[in-house]
C-alpha cells in the first residue's frame, strides 16, 4: 500500500551515517507513517469509490442509473436512492470514525520521542523526523523507531536483547550483537558523532529474518547480516542502552513492508447468501424475460390498437423494443427481492450479537478483570457451526503454572492428603497447608498439604535430605536478588522452577551459583558445592545430571530424568524400591501429573578424574565430538541409586475438563496443537480427559523420515480398520464396500474411541501431498488428535488442511504469539495502529485467551476471553443463538421480500405488462426500511429457542448448526415457495373481490389506488402476523416493534393520504383521501382478513405437523420446559472417572538443551558474580563460540517450540 507510492524501484540502498545531506539525494522515505486511508479532502471520493466496489452497492447504483432513463423508469428515483443513501452514509460514518482512530494512532506513533544524535549532541526528536543515516540512542524497554544497524550497547561484546513480539509474535528474547569495531564506540558521543561508515544493503523488503549488507568504514568492509539489525517494532530488553544507525525508516521498515491490504473473513452463511443472491438475480432475469415476452405479445395484439385509440404518439413503437424496455423496467421493480436493507440488517444483527458477547457477565473473568470481547463483528453465526476446535495447550488448556504436588521418596509417597480414616481425598480448602513461615526464604505462593514430609525432614531422614538436596543442586536455574533482598529464580523451564522452589520451601534453598560452584542453604546452613561437571539435558538422553563435590570432599552425581530412561541405569540393588517407585509413578501419571525420577551416585575420586580427563579430551576432539561426549555421559550415569520421584502438576485452567467433555458431546472435535514435547502433550491430554485409558487405541506417529511416517500412518489405519472389522464380523463385506465409497461413511462405521498423537517432525512429512489424505482420514476418525512440537507455521498448516479438505468450520484458540498463525488471517490492529496482514491462513474463527502472555493472540483474534472454559458458553450459547437467529432472520427476510415483490409479477398480466407497480411508490420505499425492518431485527437479535442454561446442558442442541440445517438451499427454496404462495394470496384474493364489486355507497371500489392500499395493508398485516408466529421469544422489545410497525404503517398511511400533505405536494402524494375512504369499507377489511387467514393458516398447519411428526431436540426441550414449568436442568455431566492406573510414564519435562553449557561458561552471569579464577579465562577462551552456539540454539528452539521459554518466577 505504501511502497506503491515510491516512484522508482530501489535496487540497493546506500546510507552514510551522520550525513543527512549525503542521504537526502537518494530521497529515502522518512520515518513518518500513514496507516490512515483518507484525509478530509480525499475521504468522499475514495470512500465512495470503495463502497461502490461492493457488488450490492454497485448493483443498486446501476438500478438508480436505469431509473434515470425515462423510457425504463418504472419507479420514481427515491425508491432506490433513499435506502442506498442511508446505507452509504452509515458505512461512510463508520469508515470515517475508524480512520479517525488511525489518524490518532499515527499521530501518536509519529510523535513519539527518541534520542537522535544531531550535530554531535543527543537531542530529543519526534519519530517522524528521524532520517535515514541518523544515529539513535535506545534505552531499555523502548520501542525501536526504525530499522537500525546496531552499533554499540551497554552489554559486553555489543550484545543487546530484543523482543520481537510485534513483528513475528515471538515473545522470547533474541540476541543481537554489534560488530566488534562499532561496539568499541560504546557510549562515547563524540566518537559516535564522527562515525561515518557507509552501509550498502538490500532494498526495503518484507523478509523479517533476512538482511544482507556491507558496512564500509575506515577502509575496511564488514559484512552485515540479520544478527546486527534491530527492526522497528521490537522492544529493547535487558539492555540499558544501545546505539543504532537508521537504515530503513517509516514505510520502508520491515514492519511496515509487512502490512498490506485487509482481508475479511466471510462466514459460510455469507457465502451461501451470495450464492442465493445470484440465484435470485437469475430468477429475476427469468421473471423479467417472461414479462418482457408478455409485453411484446400484448403490444402486438392489444396495445397497438389501444394506444392508437388514445392518439398516443408512441403507438407505432416496435413491440419487440417495447418488450426490451419492459424487461429493464421490471428488473427495477422486482429488485426489492434482494433489498439493500438485507445487508445492513445482517450487519446490525451481528453487531448486536457481538455486544451480547461483550456484555456477558458469565464470560467475565474477575481474576483478571477481563470481559469477553468480540473483536470482529461479522462472524458470530459461524460460532454456531464449529466442527473442529484447534487448541493450544500452554496458557489455554493449562495455566502455565507448575506446582510441585507430590513426591515419592524411598518408597513412600508424600503429598497425598488423607482424611482421618486414611483415605485419599481431594485437596479441599479445609485442609491446613504446611506452614512454611519459619523458613524465611520460603516462597509464599507455594502450598503443600502433607505434613509428613516436613516431619521427615525434621527427623533428619537422610534419603529425604538427599532428595531435596538433589532438587536444589541439579538444575539450570539462575538466582538473583531483587531490590527487596528477596531471592528470585530465573528459570528456563517451569518444571525446574517448581522443583527448586519446593526444595527451597522445605529448607534446601538454592542461593547462588558460579560456573564452578553452587551454594545452597541446607536447613539454615550455607553449603557450597563445587560443580565438577554438568551433564546437560537433551531430548534423547531425557535426563540431566550434575557432578558435585561437597564440602566433605565426596563426589556425587545427581541425576533426574525420565523414569523409563533412568530406571535402566539403576544399580541392581534398587530392585525393590524400583517396583515400589514405579507403582507410584503410574499413580502420578494416572492423575495427569508430570513425573521425573530422581537418582544419585557416589563417585570415587580416581574414577572421576579419569573420566573427567576423557571428557576434556573429547571436548577438544574435532571428530565425533558429540558422540564421544554422549558415550562418556552414558558411562558415568550408571549404577545409580534411586531416590524417588517427583510429581509436578501442570495446572489446568479452570473448567477445562467440563468444557472438553461438553464440547465433545456437542460433536465438536478438539485437536490440541502444541509446541510442547510429545510426553508433555500426551500428559495434558490425559489430564484434561481428552485421552483416556479406556480408549481403544492411541496411535503415536513419530517417524523421522517420510517413509517411516507413511508406514506408521498406514499401520495405524490398518489397525483402525482391522479392529473395527473384528468388532462386526458379519458385516465385513458390506462395510468394506462402504468404506470404499465414502470417507464420511467410514467415519460412521468406526466404533470405539481412538486418538492420534503426531509430532512436528512427522507432521512435516505427513503434510506432504501424497500422505496428506491418509493423515486427514486417520485424524478425522479419531476422537482426539494431539499434535506436539509443532511450529506456528505447522499449526496453521494443520488448520488449513482440515479447513480445506473437510470443508468444515474450524475454530482456533490460543493465547500466545505462536498461536497467531492459526488464529489470524485477518488484520490486526496492534498498539502501533498499523494494519498487519499475514497470509490468509488460519481457522475460520480465531479465539484469543486474553490476559496471559502478551497480547499477540488477542490482537490477532476474532474473539477473546480470559478462560478456556468460556469457549463452552461462546459456542453453545452465543454461537448457537447467533446461528439460530441469523437463519430465522434470513428465512423470514427472503420470504417477506418474495411476498412483497412478486405481486408485481402477477399484476403484470393484468396491466398489459406495462411495468406498473401494484403499490404506491412511497410504500415501496418505506416497506423494507420502516414498516418491516424492526420486528425482524428484534427477532434476529433477541430470539431464543431454548434458554442459555438448556443450551449448555444439552450440547446436542449444537448439532443442527454443524449440519447446516437451519438455513441452506433447501430452506431457501421453501422460504421462496412460501413467499410466492403469499404473494399469490395477496394478489388474487383482492383481485377476485374487486373484480365486480362496488363500495357500500355504490361507488366503484376497483380503482387502482384503493387496490394498492388494500394490498399494501394486507401485506403489512400478513408479514406482521408471520413474524409474530416466527418470534419464539416475545420480549417487550418485540411487542413494541411488532405493534409499533403496524401502528407506524397506519399513521404514515393516513399522513400521506391526508389533505394537508396533498395541498403542499400534489404531485408527490396523489393518494389523498384514499386510506380514509378504503379503510372504512367493511368489504375491504373482509378482504384483508381473508388474505391473512389464507396466507398464514397453511404455514401454521405445516409447522404443527412438522413438530408433531419430526420434533427436533429443541422442540422436545421446549415442550418439556412447558410441561414442567420449573424445569430442573438435567446435569448430563459425567462423573470424573478415576483412571485405572495403567503403566504409563508420566514423564514430561519442558526443558531445552544448551543451558548447561551456558552455566558452565558463566556467560549469563553478571561480571560481579564471576569469581576471579580460571573460570574467566575459560570463558574468554570460549568466547567466540558461545554466542554463536546460543544464537543457534535459541533460533533452533524458537523455530521448533517457543512454548518453553524463560519464565521469571
Amino acid at each position: 500500500m505504501f511502497c506503491s507510492e515510491k516512484k522508482l524501484l530501489e535496487v540497493e540502498r546506500k546510507v552514510k551515517a551522520n550525513d543527512r545531506e549525503y542521504n537526502e539525494k537518494f530521497q529515502y522515505a522518512d520515518n513518518r507513517i500513514h496507516t490512515s486511508k483518507y484525509n478530509i479532502l480525499t475521504f468522499l471520493p475514495i470512500n465512495l469509490f470503495e463502497q461502490f466496489q461492493r457488488v450490492a452497492n454497485a448493483y443498486f447504483l446501476f438500478l438508480l442509473i436505469l431509473q434515470l432513463i425515462p423510457e425504463i423508469s418504472s419507479l420514481t428515483w427515491f425508491t432506490t436512492i433513499v435506502p442506498l443513501v442511508l446505507v452509504i452514509t452509515m458505512t461512510a460514518v463508520k469508515d470515517a470514525t475508524d480512520d479517525c482512530f488511525r489518524h490518532k494512532s499515527d499521530n501518536q506513533v509519529n510523535n513519539r520521542q527518541s534520542e537522535v544524535l544531531i550535530d554531535g549532541k543527543l537531542q530529543n526528536e519526534k519519530w517522524m523526523n528521524v532520517k535515514v543515516g541518523d544515529i539513535i540512542k535506545l534505552e531499555n524497554n523502548q520501542f525501536v523507531a526504525a530499522d537500525l544497524l546496531l552499533l554499540s550497547s551497554s552489554e559486553p561484546h555489543g550484545l543487546c536483547y530484543i523482543e520481537t513480539a510485534e513483528l513475528d509474535g515471538e515473545t522470547n528474547l533474541k540476541v543481537r550483537h554489534a560488530l566488534a569495531v562499532t561496539s568499541e564506540l560504546g557510549a562515547d558521543i563524540s566518537r559516535l558523532a564522527k562515525f561515518d561508515g557507509i552501509v550498502v544493503c538490500e532494498a526495503p523488503n518484507n523478509k523479517l529474518d533476512k538482511f544482507t549488507g556491507v558496512l564500509s568504514w575506515k577502509d575496511s568492509k564488514y559484512p552485515l547480516n540479520n544478527e546486527k539489525i534491530i527492526l522497528r517494532g521490537c522492544v529493547l530488553r535487558n539492555t540499558s542502552w544501545c546505539f543504532g544507525m537508521v537504515i530503513f525508516a517509516g514505510p520502508d521498515t520491515k514492519l511496515m513492508q509487512n502490512s498490506g491490504k485487509t482481508k475479511f473473513k466471510r462466514t459460510s452463511i455469507d457465502r451461501l447468501m451470495n450464492t442465493l443472491v445470484l440465484w435470485i438475480f437469475g430468477f429475476l432475469v427469468c421473471l423479467g424475460i417472461i414479462l418482457a415476452i408478455g409485453n411484446s405479445i400484448w403490444e402486438k395484439q392489444v396495445g397497438d390498437q389501444f394506444r392508437s385509440f388514445l392518439f398516443w404518439k408512441e403507438g407505432e413503437k416496435n413491440s419487440v423494443f417495447s418488450g426490451f424496455l419492459t424487461f429493464w423496467s421490471y428488473i427495477i421493480i422486482l429488485n426489492t427481492v434482494v433489498p439493500i436493507s438485507l445487508y445492513v440488517s445482517v450487519e446490525v444483527i451481528r453487531l448486536g450479537h457481538s455486544y451480547f458477547i461483550n456484555w456477558d457477565r458469565k464470560m467475565y473473568y474477575s481474576g483478571k478483570a477481563t470481559p469477553a470481547e468480540a473483536r470482529t463483528t461479522t462472524l458470530n453465526e459461524e460460532l454456531g457451526q464449529i466442527e473442529y476446535v484447534f487448541s493450544d495447550k500452554t496458557g489455554t488448556l493449562t495455566q502455565n503454572i507448575m506446582t510441585f504436588k507430590k513426591c515419592s521418596i524411598n518408597g513412600r509417597i508424600y503429598g497425598e492428603v488423607q482424611d482421618d480414616l486414611g483415605r485419599k481425598t481431594d485437596i479441599t480448602k479445609k485442609k491446613e497447608p504446611v506452614d512454611f513461615s519459619v523458613n524465611s526464604q520460603a516462597e509464599r505462593t507455594f502450598q503443600f498439604f502433607d505434613h509428613n514430609l516436613m516431619e521427615a525432614i525434621k527427623l533428619g531422614d537422610p534419603k529425604v535430605h538427599e532428595f531435596l538436596r538433589l532438587l536444589a543442586l541439579c538444575h539450570t536455574v539462575m538466582s538473583e536478588e531483587n531490590s527487596a533482598g528477596q531471592l528470585i529464580y530465573q528459570v528456563q523451564s517451569p518444571d525446574e522452577g517448581a522443583l527448586v522452589t519446593a526444595a527451597r520451601n522445605f529448607g534446601f534453598t538454592f542461593k547462588s551459583r558460579t560456573p564452578e560452584t553452587i551454594t545452597i542453604e541446607e536447613l539454615g546452613t550455607l553449603v557450597t558445592y563445587q560443580l565438577l561437571a554438568f551433564l546437560d539435558f537433551n531430548n534423547i538422553r531425557k535426563r540431566m545430571s550434575v557432578i558435585v563435590r561437597n564440602p566433605k570432599g565426596q563426589i556425587k552425581l545427581y541425576s533426574k530424568g525420565a523414569d523409563t530412561i533412568l530406571f535402566e541405569k539403576l544399580h541392581p540393588s534398587n530392585e525393590d524400591l524400583l517396583t515400589l517407585t514405579s507403582d507410584h509413578l503410574s499413580e502420578f501419571a494416572g492423575e495427569g501429573l508430570r513425573t521425573l525420577a530422581i537418582a544419585y551416585r557416589d563417585l570415587d575420586d580416581k574414577y572421576f578424574k579419569e573420566w573427567h580427563k576423557m571428557l576434556e579430551d573429547a571436548n577438544t576432539a574435532t571428530d565425533e565430538r558429540d558422540e564421544r561426549i554422549a558415550g562418556l555421559y552414558e558411562e558415568i550415569e550408571r549404577d545409580l541409586m534411586l531416590l524417588g520421584a517427583t510429581a509436578v502438576e501442570d495446572k489446568l485452567q479452570e473448567g477445562v475438563i467440563e468444557t472438553v467433555t461438553s464440547l465433545s458431546l456437542a460433536n465438536i472435535k478438539i485437536w490440541v496443537l502444541t509446541g510442547d514435547k510429545q510426553e508433555t502433550a500426551i500428559n495434558i491430554g490425559y489430564a484434561c480427559n481428552m485421552l483416556t485409558d479406556d480408549m481403544n487405541d492411541v496411535f503415536i506417529i513419530a517417524g523421522n523420515t517420510a517413509a517411516e511416517v507413511r508406514e506408521e500412518l498406514r499401520k495405524a489405519k490398518e489397525n483402525l480398520f482391522g479392529q473395527n472389522r473384528s468388532f462386526s464380523n458379519g458385516h465385513v463385506v458390506f462395510e468394506k464396500k462402504q468404506q470404499l465409497e465414502l470417507a464420511s461413511v467410514v467415519e460412521e462405521t468406526i466404533t470405539g474411541d481412538y486418538a492420534l498423537v503426531i509430532n512436528g517432525h512427522s507432521l512435516a512429512h505427513a503434510l506432504e501431498s501424497d500422505v496428506k489424505n491418509d493423515l486427514l482420514e486417520l485424524a478425522c476418525m479419531c476422537k482426539t488428535v494431539v499434535c506436539c512440537r509443532v511450529t506456528p507455521l505447522q499449526k496453521a498448516q494443520v488448520v488449513e488442511l482440515v479447513k480445506k479438505y473437510r470443508n468444515a468450520v474450524t475454530l482456533a484458540i490460543g493465547d500466545g504469539a505462536n498461536d497467531v498463525s492459526m488464529i489470524k488471517s485477518k488484520r490486526t490492529l496492534t498498539q502501533w495502529g498499523m494494519l498487519h496482514t499475514w497470509s490468509p491462513r488460519g481457522a475460520h474463527i480465531g479465539v484469543g485467551i486474553s490476559g496471559q502472555e502478551g497480547l499477540q493472540a488477542v490482537l490477532a483474534s476474532d474473539y477473546s476471553f480470559a478462560q478456556f472454559r468460556y469457549l463452552q458458553r461462546l459456542l453453545l450459547v452465543h454461537g448457537r443463538w447467533s446461528y439460530f437467529r441469523m437463519c430465522k432472520f434470513l428465512c423470514y427476510f427472503f420470504y417477506k421480500n418474495f411476498a412483497f415483490t412478486l405481486v408485481h409479477f402477477w399484476f403484470g398480466f393484468f396491466c398489459g405488462f406495462s411495468a406498473q407497480t401494484v403499490y404506491d411508490q412511497w410504500f415501496i420505499t418505506l416497506f423494507n426500511i420502516v414498516y418491516t425492518s424492526l420486528p425482524v431485527l428484534a427477532m434476529g437479535i433477541f430470539d431464543q429457542d431454548v434458554n442459555d442454561q438448556n443450551s449448555m446442558d444439552y450440547p446436542q442442541l449444537y448439532q443442527p448448526g454443524q449440519q447446516n440445517l437451519l438455513f441452506n438451499k433447501r430452506k431457501f427454496l421453501i422460504c421462496m415457495a412460501h413467499g410466492i404462495y403469499t404473494s399469490l394470496a395477496l394478489f388474487f384474493i383482492p383481485y377476485g373481490a374487486f373484480y365486480n364489486a362496488a363500495g357500500e355507497d355504490g361507488q366503484h371500489l376497483a380503482d387502482y389506488q384503493s387496490f394498492a392500499v388494500t394490498m399494501a395493508t394486507s401485506l403489512v398485516i400478513v408479514v406482521s402476523v408471520q413474524i409474530a408466529l416466527d418470534t419464539s421469544y416475545w420480549t417487550v422489545v418485540n411487542h413494541v416493534f411488532i405493534w409499533g410497525s403496524i401502528a407506524t404503517y397506519f399513521s404514515i398511511l393516513f399522513t400521506m393520504h391526508s389533505n394537508g400533505i396533498f395541498a403542499i405536494f400534489p404531485n408527490q402524494f396523489p393518494f389523498v383521501g384514499n386510506a380514509r375512504h378504503s379503510l372504512t369499507q367493511k368489504c375491504i377489511w373482509l378482504v384483508i382478513l381473508l388474505t391473512t387467514v389464507a396466507s398464514v393458516m397453511p404455514v401454521v398447519a405445516f409447522r404443527f405437523l412438522k413438530v408433531d411428526l419430526f420434533p427436533t431436540l429443541s422442540d422436545q426441550l421446549r415442550q418439556r420446559q412447558k410441561a414442567q414449568k420449573k424445569a430442573r436442568p438435567l446435569h448430563s455431566r459425567r462423573p470424573q472417572t478415576r483412571r485405572s492406573s495403567s503403566r504409563r510414564s508420566g514423564y514430561a519435562f519442558a526443558h531445552q538443551e544448551g543451558y548447561g553449557e551456558l552455566i558452565t561458561s558463566g556467560k549469563n552471569m553478571r561480571a560481579k558474580n564471576l569469581p576471579p579464577t580460571s573460570g574467566l579465562e575459560k570463558t574468554l577462551y570460549n568466547s567466540t563460540s558461545w554466542i554463536e552456539n546460543l544464537c543457534k540454539k535459541t533460533t533452533d528452539t524458537v523455530s521448533s517450540f517457543s512454548q518453553d521459554k524463560t519464565v521469571k518466577l
Partner: protein
Amino acid sequence: MPQMKRTPQDCPSRLPENTAVKQQQLPACRLQLSATGILSGFFATGVFCLGMGVILILSAKSSMEIEINYTKICASCAKLRENARNFDKECTCSIPFHLTQTMRGNVYMYYKLYGFYQNLHGYLLSRSNSQLLGTDVKDVETCAPFSKSHDGTPIAPCGAIANSLFNDTIILSYKLNSSVHIQVPMLRSGITWWTDKYIKFRNPSSSNLSSAFAGTTKPPSWPKPVYELDENDPGNNGFLNDDFIVWMRTAAFPTFKKLYRRLSRTQHFIEGLPAGNYSFNVSYNFPVTRFQGEKSVVLSTLTWSGGHSLFLGLAYTVTGAMTWLAAFSMMAVHLKLKGKRFSPDDKVKL
C-alpha cells in the same frame, strides 16, 4: 464490519452491567402453541370463515344486478366511431329491456368497460394533479403525450386519462304504459369520493369559468372544452364535473365499472325501480371496438357488503372448509402420535 473498539483499559470496572438486556434475560413469554391451542384455533377460524362465507353469499344473492352489453346492439354507431373523423356526428341507439322484478332500494347505474387498460404505467402517469387542483392551470409537465396542443397551448385537463374521458350519455326511460315513456330521474351528484370532489379537484379561481381556463385548450378527443361539461350546474362544471372526476379515478384492472348515475327516488321510483319495460337511450360517443373492447351498462342494488359479487363469499366458504379439513387431519395425526409421544415426565432422549 471489521473491528470494534477495544474497551479502554482505564475504565473503573470492566464487569458488564447486570441488566436484563445485556444479559439477554429480558422477561419474555415464549410463544409455544400447544396442540389443543392450535387445533381449537383452526376450528374457530373454520367456523368463522364458513359463517362469513354463507352470510356474504346470501347478502350478495339478495342484491340485484342487470348488465346490458351494448357494444353489439349499437354496432352501427360503433362502426361510425371507428373513424375518428366522424367525431362530430351524433349517433344514438336505444336498448329496450324488461325488468321482471322490482329493484328495491337504491339503484345505481354504472357503465362498464371491457379491455380498457386504465392501469397502463404510462397512462396512469399522464395527468397533472397540480393542474387539477386549480393552482396552476398551465402545469402540464407530467402529462406527456397530451400536454400541449400542436400550437403549444397547454391542454386543460391535460394527459391521456383526461383525453380518453368516457363520453357516452346514457338515459334510462321507463315505459309507464304502451304510449307514455318517462325518463327515470337520475342524480348525477354524490357519485364521487368526497375528497376527490372537495380536495383533489378544484377549478381555477376566477369570476368566470371560461376565463379561468383562458390560455388553455381542450384535449384533442373532446368535442367541447372543460368549462362546458355541465353548463347548467356551476358546481358540476370544469374540473369539478362528477363524471370527469369518476373517470380520473383510474381503475385497477382492464375490466371495470364506474358509477354513472344514482336513482332519484321520487314519484314512481320511491320503492326503487318497478318491474316493467325500460330502455336505455345511449348517445354513442366512446369508441371501443377499435381495441376489441366492449362496454355495457349496469343497474344494481347494493347490500352492506357491496355489490352483487359472489367471490368473497365463496372464497370465505372455501377457506373455512379447507381450514376444517386441515384441522381434522391435524387432529388425526396428533391423536395417532399421542401414544408414542413422551409424557412430560419422560427424559428427553439424549
